[in-house]
C-alpha cells in the first residue's frame, strides 16, 4: 500500500513522538533505578521518600511509600516520585553562565550533545515488523500499519555510528566554552577517550556486519539471531564483550568515567553547567546508554528473539511463542544491559587517563581485529 506524503509525515511524527516518550520515560526511571540499584548494592535503601515531611500531598505520598517498604520487590519502587522532583529541579533551577564563557558555544554544546543522541533512535529497529494497525476511524493514518522502527535505511549502522561520534563535540565544546580549568581537563580527556574507543567499538560492530553482509539494522538483527551458522556464536560472543566495554567508554560511564571523574575533576566537563543545560548533558548521557544497550541487544543478544548470540537458530518452531520475535524480548534485554551499567558502576574503580588509552589501543583493538578475522573466517566457511 502506497502512503501519501501527508500520511507518511503524520506516521513518522507519531512514531517519533512515541520514541521520544519512551526516552523521556526511561531516562528518569533510569536515574531513579541508579539510586536504588546502587543503594541496594551498598546495603542501603536508596531513595525512599520525598521532601515535604508528613503533611499534605507529599505526606500522603510518603505514607504510601512507607507502607510499600514492608514488601520485598515492591519496596524497590519506594521513592519513585523522586524522578519527578529531579525533573522539576532541573527545569526550574537558575541558569548560571560563567562570566567569561563563550556564550554561543556554551549554549550550543548541550544541544550538540543531545540531538545526535536522540537522532540515533531514527535507525534503531525496536521490532522487525508491524507492531499494530491503526483503527480505521483515526483520521489521516487510519488503517495503516505501524512499523517497529522509524526508518529502515540501508546504511543504518553507519548512520548510527556517524551520529554517535558527533556527541563528543558537545562535551569538548562545552568544556572549552566554560572557560574553566576542571572542565577543560575533562573535555580533553573525553576527546582522547572517545577517539581511542571509537575504533574498537566500530571494529567490534564490524563482526556482525561481516557475518550478515549488510548495514541495515533490521536485516542485521533478524539475520544475526536466526540465520547464522553455529560457528558465528564465537565472534558474536567475543564481540559482545568488546562492544559493551567500549560502550561503557563511549558513554563515559564507570569504569571509564574520566571526563567527569568526580573525585578528580569535581564534575568534569559539566562543572559549570546548571539547570536545564546540565539536564541536557545528563539526558544525552543516559540516552546514549540506551542506544548502546539497544545496539548490543540487537546485534549480539539476539535482538527481538529469545536467545542471545545466535542460539535462537536451535529453538524449534514448536516452542511457539518463544520462537517468534517479540518487542518484549528486546526491551527486556535493553533493560538488563542498563542494569549492568548500574551494577558495574557500583562495583568497579576508575581507570586512569593513560591506562584507559593503553587498554583501548593495546587490548581492545587487537581483540576486535582478531574477532573480525574470526567473523570473516566464519563467513568464508558458510
Amino acid at each position: 500500500m502506497q502512503m501519501t506524503l501527508t500520511q507518511t509525515l503524520v506516521m513518522a511524527l507519531i512514531q517519533i513522538v512515541a520514541v521520544l516518550a519512551f526516552i523521556f520515560v526511561v531516562v528518569p526511571m533510569l536515574t531513579f533505578a541508579e539510586r536504588k540499584v546502587i543503594g541496594y548494592v551498598q546495603v542501603r535503601l536508596g531513595a525512599t521518600r520525598i521532601a515535604g515531611g508528613r503533611k499534605g500531598l507529599t505526606g500522603a505520598v510518603n505514607k504510601i511509600m512507607w507502607w510499600m517498604g514492608h514488601f520485598p520487590v515492591i519496596s524497590f519502587f519506594r521513592g519513585l516520585p523522586t524522578f519527578m522532583a529531579d525533573g522539576i529541579k532541573l527545569v526550574t533551577k537558575e541558569d548560571i553562565m560563567p562570566a567569561k564563557a563563550d556564550k554561543f558555544v556554551f549554549w550550543l554544546a548541550p544541544i550538540l550533545c543531545m540531538v545526535p543522541a536522540f537522532a540515533v533512535f531514527a535507525a534503531i529497529t525496536f521490532y522487525p515488523g508491524v507492531l499494530g494497525v491503526f483503527p480505521t476511524w483515526v483520521p489521516i493514518v487510519g488503517g495503516l500499519p505501524v512499523d517497529g522502527y522509524i526508518t529502515d535505511i540501508n546504511v543504518g549502522l553507519l548512520y548510527i555510528l556517524g551520529l554517535a561520534s558527533v556527541g563528543v563535540y558537545g562535551i569538548v565544546l562545552g568544556a572549552w566554552a566554560s572557560n574553566s580549568k576542571y572542565p577543560l581537563l575533562g573535555g580533553l580527556r573525553s576527546a582522547a577517550q572517545v577517539i581511542s574507543y571509537e575504533v574498537p567499538l566500530t571494529l567490534s560492530l564490524l563482526a556482525p556486519v561481516i557475518l550478515t553482509g549488510s548495514l541495515n539494522f533490521k536485516t542485521m538483527s533478524v539475520e544475526l539471531a536466526t540465520g547464522m551458522s553455529p560457528w558465528a556464536i564465537l565472534p558474536l560472543f567475543i564481540g559482545f564483550f568488546a562492544y559493551i566495554t567500549c560502550g561503557f567508554a563511549e558513554t563515559n560511564r564507570v569504569p571509564f568515567d574520566l571526563a567527569e571523574a568526580e573525585s578528580e575533576l569535581v564534575s568534569g566537563f559539566h562543572t559549570e553547567y546548571t539547570g536545564m543545560k546540565f539536564g541536557w548533558f545528563f539526558l544525552s548521557e543516559y540516552t546514549n546508554m540506551i542506544v548502546v544497550s539497544a545496539l548490543a541487544s540487537a546485534f549480539f543478544l539476539g535482538g527481538h528473539y529469545f536467545l542471545p548470540f545466535g542460539f535462537q537458530q536451535f529453538v524449534p518452531a514448536s516452542w511457539g511463542w518463544f520462537a517468534q520475535p517479540h518487542l518484549i524480548f528486546f526491551l527486556l534485554k535493553v533493560f538488563f544491559l542498563l542494569f549492568v551499567f548500574l551494577w558495574v558502576r557500583a562495583t568497579l574503580p576508575r581507570y586512569r587517563y593513560d591506562q584507559l588509552m593503553s587498554v583501548g589501543w593495546k587490548y581492545f583493538i587487537p581483540l576486535t581485529l582478531v574477532n573480525l578475522f574470526i567473523a570473516g573466517l566464519v563467513r568464508f566457511m558458510a
Partner: protein, 366 residues
Amino acid sequence: MFKNEELEINLGPQHPSTHGVLRVKLRLDGETVRHCYPVIGYLHRGVEKICENKTFFQGQVWTDRMDYVAAVSNNLGWAEAIEKLMGISVPRRAKYIRTLLTELNRISSHLLWLGTHAMDIGAMTVFLYAFREREEILDVFESFCGARLTTTAFRIGGLRDDVPPGFEAKVQAFLDRFLPCIDEYEDLLTENRIWKKRTIGVAPISAEECLAMGVTGPVLRAAGVPYDIRKAFPYAAYDEMQFEVPTRMEADTYARYLVRLEEMRQSHRIVQQCLDGMPEGAVMAKLPKILKSEVAEVYHPIEAPKGELGYYLVGEKGGLNPYRFHVRGPSFVNLQALPKMTEGKLLADVIAAIGTLDVVLGEVDR
C-alpha cells in the same frame, strides 16, 4: 611555535577528594604534575596553645578534635603523656581496656581510610561496606563512653568507669563477623585489575626518603621499615600482646593498602587477646585531688593509625596546666611526602597519593 604553558590548578580546599580542607596547588603540563604544593591551615584552631591554658584534665577534649577519626588514640597519648609527666601508674585492667579501645579505633580509622581511598579511585561501594563495620565500632565507643566520635574516652590515671554490662559480648560479636568483612573488601579490590593498575607503582616513596622526611606509620612500613612504636617503645598493654608488624617492600599505594588491611587483621588479634586476657581490678589509680606537675619534660609517642603521634609536654613547678605543649601529628608530617610522591606523575595519582597518605586535616592544621 607552540607556547608551552603550564596550567595552575587549585585542588581544594573545597574538592571532593581532599579529605577535608586540604588545598593543593598544582602546576600541570597537560595531565602531568610539574609542581605540587600543599597549602594547609584552613582548620587551624590553635589546639596546642589552648591546651597550655587549660588544666591537664580539661585538655583531653581538645585532643579529641585533632584527629577526629582516631580520637581514642589521641586520648590515649594525652593521658599517658601526663601520667609519664607526673609519674602515675595505671592499673592493669585500665591498660587492657585502653589497648582494646585503641585497637578498635585503629580498625575504624583504617576502615574510614579504606572507604574514602577506594571512593577516590572510583570504587564507591567499598565505602559503604567499610562504614557498616565502622558503625559497629562507633556503637562500642558509644556504649563505653557515651560518644561516637569525640570520645573523651580516658582519664588521667585510668578510666572514668569500668566497661558497661554487655560490653564484652558486643565487642566479641563484632570480632566474630569482622574477618569475613575484610575478605569482602578484598574481593572488591585486591585482585581487581583496575584497582591494581591504579595503585601498583603509584605514588612511590622510598624508605630513605620516608626517614629523611619523618614519614611514619603504614607509609613507612610499606617501604620496608618495620618501625612500629607498639613494638619499639611499648606503651599501654602492648608489651603483653602477641602481634606482628606487617611490612611490604614495594613502597607504593598498593603496598600501603595491603599493609593497612593486614594491620586491621592484627588489630583484630590484639582486641581478641585483650578480651580474653582481661584482668580484674580497679580501673583508676589513686590520684591527688588536684593534679599538679613538677618541673619535667616528656615526649610520649604512640602508634596512632596514621603513624607516630607524639605528645611533648613541659611542666612547671606546681603548674595546673602544661607550660609547653606540642603535638607531633603523623598526618602533618606525612603530608610533606605529597610533593615527592606526585611530581612528574599524573593528576589522578595526586588523588591516589592524598588518599594513601591518609591525612586528617584536623590534625594537620590542629
